[in-house]
Structure formats: structure tokens, C-alpha cells
Amino acid sequence: METPLTGRIRADGEVVTLAEYRRAGGYEGLRRALGMTPAEVQAEVKASKLRGRGGAGFPTGIKWSFVPMGPDAPRPKYVVCNADEMEPGTFKDRLLMEGDPHQLVEGMIIAAHAIEASVGYVFLRWAYRTAERRLRRAIAEAYEAGLLGRDILGRGVDFDLHVHVSAGRYICGEETALLNALEGKRANPRAKPPYPQVSGLFGKPTVVNNVETFVNLPHILARGAQWFDGLSTLSADGGTKLYGVSGRARRPGLWELPIGSTAREILYERAGGMRDGYRLRGFLPGGASTDFLTEAHLDMPLDFDTPMKHGSRLGTGTMILLDDRTCPVGMNANLQRFFAQESCGWCTPCREGLPWVSRLLDAMERGDGRPGDLEKLAHHAHFLGPGHTFCALAPGAAEPLQSGLRLFREDFERHIAERRCPYGGSA
């Protein structure tokens, strides 16, 4: 099984240097891309069926195609890497950046060439200190090697790449809030349209992609769209995916697998199954802002489309387990506290609704749940849904809430009826 994204990452935790990266074929994708026109690079990526790995799964090539091209297009154009990985339970981008930063640098240069961007930013989560150090070093190495700056590889392409360390808010992972933050403004999302491809950073055409999306590009360009599409035979989607497991598994961790691998394979073959004495009750397949799935869904391919048909999302592909000794109400209380705290405060339902949800769940955990509370929670699960709020934060928060209410309703009811947490928890 091929692991193009993680294959070079060293077991000893040290970083892959420029020399090592190049020895393993690094920057060959870039060399090939620079020999192509931007339109050809875009076509190659479109043909690969690469979809955005940040959670929404939007086809990368199509995303790029909305960028105005040609001599009359507004300039400068920007490429921005969303490395503000703050989704609870998600730690895949960290591994990629800490282990093999040149792969990201190369991916970003390719993307820049594809949309004729001249400036790039890696918008990095503040806590990723090691990644920051290693990325800065990799960028310096790339400049020294003529891979960044003026006239890259003598092909007449210019691209400058900067690292911007975020001040640390979950909302910065929302691409337009990220752009506002990068401009030095409050990290509030923007209304779309206009989309960043048209009016992004400083009002200029901008593509924002996730770290994992970028690191696929060198391989697609080096080995071709068909090869990439063929990496997975389990799904209509192409390539590999980083899957993670956290919770009471025997070996929580992160694995690069063909996209469309099942939760059963990930949990039982990679993570070693549940720890002794724990039974699986459910799992959030792709981070905190995805709907709960249950044992019944273990054999479903975890690609972009299948979980949607079952009321959830692939998200970041990093699952969080709910076991039978953990209170589902308490887990939700924990998640909602996070989302309430991370609301940017721009729109009313999110700013005011999430703290109310959080307080209701905390009250239940304290034994202060009251009749009518479930109706209030259900009200929020509905009215915090997509289209009602300004961005996707509150709808994301509503996913574990509404699926939790549906799948573990008895637990919620017992909290209220018994005026205590049956699991002995307290918020």
C-alpha cells in the first residue's frame, strides 16, 4: 500500500531535510508543474479528483477554476495554507508539517503556479511551535535552493512564502475568518459570495487550501492524475487520506490509508479495537463538528459522499470514540462548551445560542436538568443549522448535538429524571 504523504516521515521524530526530501523525489512534481501552463496544472489536479482535506471536500481543481486568470486579473493573487488545525480530535496537519515540511512548501508553490499567485501564507496554529520552527527552516532552505523567490528553477515564476502564526481561535480555520485575521482584522467570517477566489486576502483573488490538500499536489504532479486516482479502489474519491482515532482505543493514532477505508478497518485493524472493558457506543467520524455514527456504520467507506448519506460527514477524517462508560451528555457538554467559547460573536444564533446549549448540558450533568430542556436543545439543534447562521461553526456544533439527542435520548432523559449524571460525571 502506498503512503505518498507520510512515507518519508522519520520514525525518530526528526524532520525530513531538503536533501532527504529531494533524494526521495521531492520537488520533481514542482519541476514538472513549472513546465506546464497554469491551465494544464489545473486540469491535471481536476483530473485527479482531489477533494479538499480540510473537511468540506470541495474538489480542489474546481475551487481553483474560479480564480480570474490572465493578464487582466487583479494582482497580487494569493495562496493561503489553512494550517490552523483546531478541530477537536484532529492532529493530522501537525504530523505532516512537523515531519515533512518541504512537501507542503512544494505543494503551495505548485498551487501558486496554477493560479498565478505570487505570494503565499501558511496560517499556522499558534500551539504548533515545532511545526513553525521546521516550516520556517524549510522555507529558508527552499529560498536558498532557488525554489522560492524570483525566477523559481529558472522558469520565470515568482513566489514568496510566509509563515503567519495565528493568535489562536478555532474560527480562524474558517477560510474567510482566516483571511480577516491575516489582514489584521477581527477573525469574523465573511459573507459569501464573494468567494475568496474572487475577493480574498486584501480583496484580491485567493485560494485557501488545507495542509493535507496541498501535500497531495507534488505527488499528483510528479506521478499523474491517474496514478493518484488509482491509489484508492474503495471509493469514487481518489488518493489516500489521513485517518485518526482518539478515545478509548488500544492504540489511538493516525494512519495514511486509501480514501474510503472503513471505520472498522481503522478502529480494529489500525487502532487495535477498544480497550479492554470498554464497548463502542458511537463515534464522531471526522472531528467534533460531525454527527455521531454508531456500530451500524462501521463498515461504511469513510469517503466524502458515503457518510453524508448516513447523516454525517467525513470531516477531517479523525474520529473521536464514545465508549459505554463515558456519558454522551457530558461529551456533548464538553464539545458545546468548546464551540460556545470559540464563537466569534458575529451572528446572534451562534453567539447567544451556543452558550445556552452549553449551560443546559452542564446543568444536566450537575443534576440540574429540568423538564423542557430537551425541547430547548432540540430547538437549538434545528435553528443553529445550515443557512441560519453566518458561517458553519454553529451548524457544526449542532451536528453532535442533534445526533446525540437522537441516538442517546435515553441518557438525556435519565439525567433529567434522576437529577444526576448516571455515569457519575459532573460538568
Binding site: R186, R190, G203, G345, C347, T348, R351, E352, R359
Partner: protein, 882 residues
């Protein structure tokens, strides 16, 4: 025009507008908070949710925010949809989680948009059982009260203060449900537009601090349409009175002038009306201490009337109404009527009027200034002399970049701002010192008035070879002139802004020359609220008055303190045999009066003011002052004329008679008649009620004296009653007669859309006011004589008048808050001229030791002196170390 369907009914819609705008324009009830008609949509509050359906077969639809949804042709919506209604109620419920239930003690209550919207959505049951958050409030200075606990986080305040008005010291702090809208710390809000927060805030976070000192609910305030008296722009205002005290000023929308916003001088300058320095009784001061016994009005009239048998000289005032000045002019005759301003000021205003009348350029309204695509400001420090104009120019800055935005609707405010970034309409500023709108300028010049004029004349020459060239220009100034000319030439709607405040006729002429050379609008700021009216009426200056006055003559001074105008006031007053002062305030001139007649302020009288564009606008009496002594200036003068047996005023029973006499005497001013409907106007036989129909305590207020309801004071001058009886504002009133904005369900000033033809459109019935000044049709009267360069003279400093929004207008300085904001007297000098921390400044009739403000942009050899703070300014001074 597009057609959209709302709840099954077709409505005409402008597809360039958003759905909320269209619904409100059609007078449909749809609640909202973050949207503001002047500031566009941002989609934050989610209050205006409606259902949108794909087509007639779509029964499910989806919730959309009306403010963020284009009114596209054929689009189908529902306001009444149950889910949309439930969602809107839910938004109110969320906003109410932390909002205190303090309406009974909240200053906003009775005109609270949040109250109105809460009732509109039907949310009324509290389901939230947790404690509310609370905040520490800030002291924001004398004008605006802060009560953050009431905040519903609509972001309107920061959007107005920062994005619209260019302020920097109000911001939003914190995140999630812990947002804080305020300053970084306690302290006075710096913007001269901060008072608009009171109206922009949909609830009681920002309220009028001066109102708080003598609070009354909106439903208890007696109001009438009025005009601001604190600068020459003529912003339309709504003064509110209760129990004989003027309580506050609110904005009265006039699309062509002030739109939705006022400056703080206009909003907070009203307190002179309640001041203890008011003259409330007729007085005949006598003896060395000028002690005075009150006179009965008839005694006072009887005392003055015989004087009319002798020679009488009259001094009018640019802060008195056209009617009051005309009455005085009638009393003394045109030859003995003088304008009550210095020769220099009169020459400036006359020049401005002549340029607007004789040249081809029209004076633009502020609304037109806001839409200009190139601007040259010559000499005028608009933020200090005409603040609402400066706010308009701040909007002008966005015009050209917004024109270039394609594919994004104009109302999508944040998206448009993101696209245009720092791009601005080309605006060039040439002023003596830095102004608070210098940040708008592409380029500019800080220079003495002659140099500003020379730049202007050079621009005019570059635009049109018929305009004469300017010799000896520095190369960089010549290049700047070429650049400005190029921009103005390319513009479709250029505007030149100038004014009298830097004291230079040459600057006025240069500005007009530029406007004529490129077909631009000529916006000319004048010194006072009726400077234009007085100039139209005619009459000499104070120096002319001094020449005309023979020893022993009677001198009648109308609403004027000569000591503010001239250093020769003492000499002038000493020569008069009898000085009659008709004014509402006790001042140095009044202290020299033999007879002092108590006049009504703008709030206690009716009349016409002519603003800087030449627009005659009527202000109506807001309340009848208690007692029987105070009366309109024109009435005093009429009574004196009648008592003296003079025939002219015999038929002046009411204001309309004075206006008719004015129109007969001066056909060129006959338009004044049409500035507003006459006192005979009726709706179904009724006058308009000045009091809201819910005014409380109508009978109880006077119950300590009589349990019988007092008879309303009759008003022969205006189509208004001093009472709650009569036509209410919900009826279709002529725009000039709208006394306040209110509509059933819309208690706050957001009721405005019910009075407009459409959102942001004119008021129903058209913009009030009549233009009295029209451009000339003859050949362009080019000025052939540009001034030479400024040359410093040894031992002499040219005085540059420096204006202060708070400080340079004497009436507003009687408001404690305005006085608190005013600077202490000072002299501004160039760094090279700064001889110490304080200097002795002497000039003709002028001597003062003043602290030095060093202004790097000031030219050596010039000295800036603050207007209104150090007495009348000489033309030149000498500066010596203290």
C-alpha cells in the same frame, strides 16, 4: 424594475436593492437590527430571516436573510411562513437572554427599536433560566451615556463610528458572548459625530447624556420640525421640549442635507435655550451697576415706540431669522439697516453669494457632495466649520472605488469594503492647517490663504485657458495644479468645496474659478446659520453702521452680541442715545442696553433660515415659553412699530403676513413663501399636533395650580397645535411639517422608512425648502487678478483663523458639554516661530498672553488664533516672548 412575490402578492422591486430594503420601502413589517439604511447590510443579527422559494412548486423553501438577499426578478419569499416567524422570534429570544428587563428605567424606552422588534416578533416568554452577563460601563464624556448590559451586539455602533465616520477610539473587544463595545478605557469619545450613536444604537447602550439630566420620554416630548442654528448647512432637526425646557435634539431626515446624521455641535448645542443667562423679562437697566427692574411687555413697547420718531439705526444678525431681520429692516428702513457683522466677514459672505449668483456653478446639496467623483477642498476646515459636510466628504471618498466594484451589490457593505480596500475617490485638500479629513486626501497642501488661492487659480487656468495664469508658482505647486486639473477634467460629477473660514476672498474666488472652469458644483461654507439670508437681504457692515450712527441716535440691535464681532463695540454703543437689544441671551451688548426685549430662541419662534446652498428652510416653534414676556423678535419689532403708529406692520398678525410683506418688498425672495405650508394648512380641518397622542400628564402637570385642563396656547403662526389634538404623524404630512418620526409599531426613529418614498429616498412630498439662489446665465465672470505669493513681513504675523467644532460657535458654548470639549485659548505658531511655551500676542484692539501650540504645517510668519475663544481677530499680530 423587477417583480418579486412576497406571501403570494407581487411587488415592484429594484433588483439592485436587497429584499429587506424592498420590504421596508413597501411598508411591510420585517424586523432587523444590524442593517442600517445608510450603512448597508452585513448579515450579523439574523433578525430579518424570511423563507425563499425556488419557484411556485417549492413548498419547503429555505430561510434566508432578507438584508443579504437580492430582490431578483421573479424571486419568491414569505415573511409569514411559520418557520421564518419562529426563527425571528428565536433571534429575539437569544438577544433577550442577557438584555436587562429595565425598560421602565431605561432612557431608550418608548423609542427603542429592540422593544419594537420584540413586540413585532411576538416573543414574550422567558425560557432562559441562567444568570445574565454583566459589564462595567465607561464614562464616554459629556455627550454619550454608556450602558453595555443592554447591548445586543448588532455592530452598528462600530460600523458607524469607524467605517462611516472615520473614528478610531470606539471598537469591539472580546469574543463569543463576551463582546464589549466601547473604548480601550474610560474617556471622551473623540469623534464630533459620536452623538449619532444615540440614534444608531437600536437599544439603550448609547443614550443622550444631556437628555438624562432632564429626562422625558419620547411620547412626552413636544416637537416641531426645526433647523439647526449652529452652522451654515441648515441640518434639519427635531427639538423636543417638556414643561418649558428644551430636552434634546434629534435628527430630522432630509435626504438632500443631513440624511440620518448630525454633528455633536448641532445635537448638543441646544442648552443655551434653557440657560440661566436667558433674557426672560423685558428690562430697562439703569445706574452704574446696570441693575434692572422687569418691565411689563406693554411698558417696554411704550418705552421704545416714541424713539421711532427720531433717527433709528438697526443692526441685524446672521443668527436671526429672515423674518426678524426683515422686520428690523422695515422698522429702520433699508438705508439704516446693517448686518451686524464685520466689514471683513460681510465682504466674504457677499463675495460667496456673488460667486454663486453670477457664475455658472450651482451649489450642490450635501447629498450631491456625497456622490461626487472628484473633490477639491480649498481653504475650508470642514470638520470644524461644517462638520456634516466633512462627514459627507468621508462618504464621497468611497464613490469612485465603489463604482469600480462589479458583481457585488452596493448594499453588501463588508464585501464592498474588502474589495475597495484603501482606494479612494480623488480628493485634494488645500487648507492652512491639518484637518481631520486629511486622511481622505490623495494629496494636498497646507499653506497660507494666498497660496491656497494661487493653487486654485492655477488649477482653473490648467482647466480652462480663459482663466488667467498664475505667475511664479513653485514647480511642485504647478505640478499639483496640473494633477488636480487632470482629475477634475476627467470627473463626471466634480465638486469644489470652499468657504469663508480662512478669511480670504481670494480663496473663494479661486474655488469658484476652478468650479467654473470644469463645470463643478461649488459648495461654499458660510459662517452662520443665516449668513446667506442676511446677505440676500442686504445692508452694510458694522463699520458702515458706525458711520451711519449719529450721536444720540437710537440703536436697535437684533439677536447679536457686537462684542463678538468687533473691537469697536464700545465706541459704537456709547454714541447711541438709546440702545434697544432684542435677544434671548444676556451678553455684553445686552449689558449696555437701555431697553432689553426678551426674544424667543429658534425653539420658541418660527422663521426662515437660508443655508449655504441658498435653500430657505422654515423652522417651527417647538413650545410656547411660559409667562407672556418672551416673543419672537419680529413680533417685538411689529409691536413697537404699531405702537409708534407706523403703518408697515399694521397687517402683521402672524408670520405669514411678515413673509407676504417680505415677498412683496423683495420679489427675489418670494420663494420663502414656499419653504413650508402656511399656517392655514389643515388636514381634514386639523392642524398638526406637536405632542404625541400618548403624551402623559396633560392635566396632571398643572394640577398643583388648577384641576382644569389648561387651554392650549393658540398659534397663529404655524399649522401646529401646542397640544396632542390634531393631525398625527401617521397621516401623510407635507415633508416640511413632519414633527417627528413615529408609526404604529415603530416607536423608534427607525419609523423613518414609513415617511420616505422608499428607503434612502426623499421624504414623501419632496425635500423641504426652496432655493433662493440660482447660478448666473451670463458669461463666466473670470477673476483676472490672482494674488501674489505670501511674503513674510518682519515683526508681523498674518492671522490665520482656526475653527473648532466645539468652541467657535458662541451659542453652543453655553452647553456645558460643548464648553468642556472646547480648547483653552491659544496661539498656533510654526516651529520656527515658537518663541516659548507662551507668548504675548498683540494686534489692532487685541492683546493677550497665550500658550503656544506648535503646528509643524503652519507657515512661518503666520499665527493661528482660535475663532470664538479670544474675541474678534485682528488681521495681523505681533508675537513676542512672554
Amino acid at each position: 424594475m423587477a417583480t418579486i412575490v412576497v406571501d403570494g402578492r407581487p411587488y415592484e422591486a429594484d433588483p439592485a436593492r436587497n429584499l429587506l430594503d424592498v420590504c421596508l420601502s413597501h411598508k411591510l413589517d420585517l424586523p432587523y437590527f444590524c442593517w442600517h439604511p445608510a450603512m448597508g447590510s452585513v448579515g450579523a443579527c439574523r433578525q430579518c430571516a424570511v423563507k425563499q422559494f425556488k419557484d411556485e412548486n417549492d413548498t419547503r423553501g429555505r430561510l434566508v436573510m432578507a438584508c443579504m438577499t437580492p430582490a431578483a426578478d421573479g424571486a419568491r419569499f414569505s415573511i409569514a411562513d411559520p418557520e421564518a416567524k419562529a426563527f425571528r422570534a428565536s433571534v429575539i429570544e437569544w438577544l433577550m437572554l442577557n438584555h436587562p428587563h429595565d425598560c421602565p428605567v431605561c432612557d431608550e424606552g418608548s423609542e427603542c427599536h429592540l422593544q419594537d422588534m420584540t413586540v413585532m416578533t411576538g416573543h414574550n416568554e422567558r425560557r432562559f433560566r441562567f444568570p445574565k452577563r454583566s459589564y462595567v460601563n465607561q464614562d464616554l464624556g459629556p455627550f454619550v451615556n454608556h450602558e453595555m448590559n443592554r447591548c445586543i451586539q448588532c455592530y452598528r455602533c462600530v460600523r458607524f463610528y469607524r467605517d462611516y465616520a472615520g473614528g478610531a477610539d470606539l471598537d469591539v473587544f472580546g469574543v463569543h458572548d463576551g463582546l464589549y463595545f466601547g473604548r480601550a478605557g474610560d474617556g471622551t469619545l473623540e469623534s464630533e459625530y459620536a452623538g449619532n450613536l444615540v440614534e444608531v444604537c437600536p437599544t439603550g447602550v448609547f443614550t443622550d447624556k444631556t437628555l438624562k439630566r432632564h429626562y422625558a420620554r419620547k411620547w412626552d416630548l413636544q416637537t416641531a420640525p426645526s433647523i439647526c442654528v449652529h452652522c451654515s448647512l441648515g441640518c434639519n432637526v427635531i427639538p423636543g421640549e417638556r414643561a418649558g425646557e428644551l430636552r434634546r435634539i434629534r435628527n430630522r431626515y432630509n435626504r438632500e442635507i443631513n440624511g440620518h446624521f448630525l454633528c455633536d455641535r448641532g445635537r448638543y448645542g441646544y442648552e443655551f435655550v434653557n440657560d440661566e443667562r436667558r433674557v426672560r423679562r423685558a428690562l430697562a437697566p439703569h445706574g452704574p451697576d446696570r441693575s434692572a427692574d422687569p418691565l411689563d411687555p406693554n411698558e417696554a413697547i411704550a418705552r421704545v415706540a416714541p424713539l421711532l420718531a427720531g433717527r433709528v439705526v438697526g443692526i441685524g444678525s446672521p443668527r436671526a431669522s429672515l423674518e426678524a431681520n426683515f422686520a428690523l429692516q422695515t422698522l429702520v428702513g433699508p438705508d439704516r439697516f446693517f448686518q451686524g457683522i464685520s466689514t471683513r466677514d460681510k465682504r466674504l459672505v457677499d463675495t460667496a453669494l456673488a460667486l454663486l449668483r453670477e457664475g455658472p456653478s450651482r451649489a450642490p446639496t450635501l447629498h450631491e457632495v456625497e456622490r461626487a467623483d472628484a473633490v477639491l477642498v480649498l481653504g475650508e476646515d470642514a470638520p470644524n466649520t461644517a462638520p456634516r459636510l466633512a462627514l459627507a466628504l468621508r462618504q464621497t471618498a468611497g464613490v469612485v472605488p465603489r463604482q469600480a466594484v462589479a458583481g457585488i451589490p452596493r448594499w453588501h457593505d463588508n464585501a464592498v469594503r474588502e474589495l475597495i480596500q484603501d482606494a479612494k475617490t480623488p480628493i485634494y485638500l488645500a487648507t492652512p492647517v491639518a484637518t481631520r479629513i486629511d486622511d481622505l486626501a490623495r494629496r494636498g497642501q497646507h499653506a497660507p490663504p494666498e497660496e491656497i488661492a494661487r493653487l486654485g487659480f492655477a488649477v482653473a487656468h490648467a482647466l480652462n485657458a480663459d482663466a488667467p495664469p498664475v505667475g511664479g508658482l513653485a514647480p511642485e505647486v504647478a505640478a499639483l495644479a496640473e494633477e488636480i486639473a487632470g482629475v477634475l477634467r476627467a470627473a463626471e460629477r466634480p465638486v469644489v468645496v470652499t468657504g469663508t473660514s480662512c478669511g480670504s476672498e481670494a480663496v473663494l474666488r479661486a474655488a469658484a474659478q476652478v468650479a467654473w472652469a470644469c463645470g463643478a458644483g461649488l459648495c461654499c461654507v458660510l459662517p452662520e446659520c443665516n449668513s446667506m439670508g442676511l446677505a440676500l437681504l442686504g445692508g452694510g457692515s458694522l463699520d458702515d453702521a458706525a458711520r451711519a450712527l449719529s450721536d444720540g441716535d437710537t440703536l436697535i440691535v437684533l439677536e447679536n452680541d457686537l462684542y463678538e464681532r468687533t473691537t469697536a463695540a464700545d465706541a459704537l454703543l456709547a454714541r447711541a442715545g438709546h440702545v434697544v437689544v432684542v435677544d434671548h441671551l444676556a451678553h455684553a451688548t445686552g449689558a449696555r442696553a437701555h431697553t432689553l426685549l426678551p426674544a424667543g430662541t429658534f425653539a420658541e419662534s418660527d422663521g426662515t433660515l437660508v443655508n449655504n446652498e441658498g435653500r430657505a428652510q422654515r423652522f417651527f416653534q417647538v413650545f410656547a415659553p411660559s409667562g407672556h414676556s418672551i416673543r419672537e423678535s419680529w413680533r417685538w419689532l411689529r409691536d413697537v412699530m404699531n405702537a409708534a403708529g407706523r403703518a408697515e406692520a399694521a397687517g402683521w398678525h402672524a408670520l405669514d403676513d411678515v413673509i407676504a410683506a417680505l415677498a412683496a418688498a423683495r420679489p427675489d425672495l418670494a420663494g420663502v413663501r414656499d419653504a413650508a405650508p402656511s399656517a392655514a394648512w389643515r388636514f381634514a380641518g386639523n392642524k398638526v399636533a406637536r405632542l404625541p397622542h400618548r403624551a402623559t400628564g396633560r392635566t396632571a402637570l398643572h394640577a398643583d395650580r388648577s384641576v382644569h385642563e389648561p387651554r392650549a396656547v393658540p398659534d397663529p403662526d404655524a399649522p401646529f397645535n401646542f397640544s396632542m389634538e390634531g393631525a398625527g404623524v401617521e397621516l401623510p404630512l407635507p415633508a416640511a411639517l413632519v414633527p417627528r418620526f413615529w408609526s404604529p409599531g415603530w416607536n423608534s426613529e427607525q419609523a423613518l422608512h414609513r415617511f420616505q418614498e422608499e428607503v434612502e429616498g426623499p421624504l414623501r412630498g419632496g425635500t423641504p425648502g426652496v432655493r433662493l439662489v440660482a447660478p448666473g446665465a451670463g458669461p463666466i465672470p473670470w477673476w483676472r487678478d490672482p494674488p501674489g505669493p505670501f511674503r513674510r513681513r518682519e515683526g508681523e504675523w498674518r492671522v490665520v483663523p482656526l475653527h473648532h467644532v466645539f468652541g467657535s460657535d458662541p451659542l453652543s458654548m453655553l452647553s456645558p458639554g460643548v464648553a468642556q470639549r472646547a480648547p483653552a485659548p491659544y496661539v498656533a505658531l510654526a516651529p520656527a516661530d515658537a518663541l516659548g511655551a507662551a507668548v504675548v500676542v498683540t494686534g489692532e484692539g487685541f492683546a493677550a498672553t497665550l500658550p503656544v501650540r506648535v503646528l509643524p504645517e503652519l507657515t512661518p510668519g503666520t499665527a493661528g488664533l482660535p475663532v470664538g475663544l479670544v474675541g474678534p481677530l485682528p488681521a495681523v499680530v505681533e508675537v513676542k516672548p512672554a
